[in-house]
Symmetry: C2
Subunit: 110 residues, 2 copies
């Protein structure tokens, strides 16, 4: 995922929504952000007594509101190289619009 | 998932493909199988020095080769009740046929 982000052109804006680990923000992503002005990262969390109450377990990539990836694979080596995963890429407008709408609601509220 | 399986009619055949935990076969599923003649369970694994080499991380439900669920959610409380998950249900023939074909290849080889 990091290598993929690194390869994205400067004029493509990227929004990245994830959760912090128990140690806080992701240090690799945070370093990457310093060298990429087109990368915005938001962390979603709700904690109670310093314990995180839920996980973002969704795995989605939406490009230009014209295609979407949806599936089981985490964006890391274990999933990409070793696990048996399932997923799809779709250009279905209705599907994309629904996910863009949910995503925008969540992202803009953080 | 267990409650859902319990509710399935006797004349509907169910194939369940999963991986063993490090303690072996899933005891809840195995007990359920004893009371459900229409439930078949297969475990997929490849071990080396007693260590499992990969995980089934795919989460798919296919019904009657006419609809498919595909997504990030594990079939357990944490995913269904607490996590932010992503997924879809589709009746797309091409998508279903591709997944049925991959699934059948794997399932019949075990």
């Amino acid at each position: 995922m990091i290598d993929y982000l690194r390869g994205v052109d400067n004029d493509v804006n990227i929004q990245f929504l994830t959760v912090p680990s128990k140690y806080g923000n992701n240090p690799v992503l945070e370093r990457l952000k310093q060298s990429m002005k087109n990368l915005e990262i938001k962390y979603m969390f709700e904690s109670k007594d310093e314990i995180q109450q839920f996980q973002i377990h969704a795995k989605i990539i939406i490009c230009d509101e014209s295609s979407i990836y949806l599936g089981s694979a985490n964006f890391r080596d274990t999933s990409i190289l070793y696990n048996l995963e399932s997923g799809l890429v779709s250009n279905d407008e209705k599907l994309i619009n629904e996910y863009v709408s949910i995503y925008d609601d969540i992202y803009s509220a953080i």
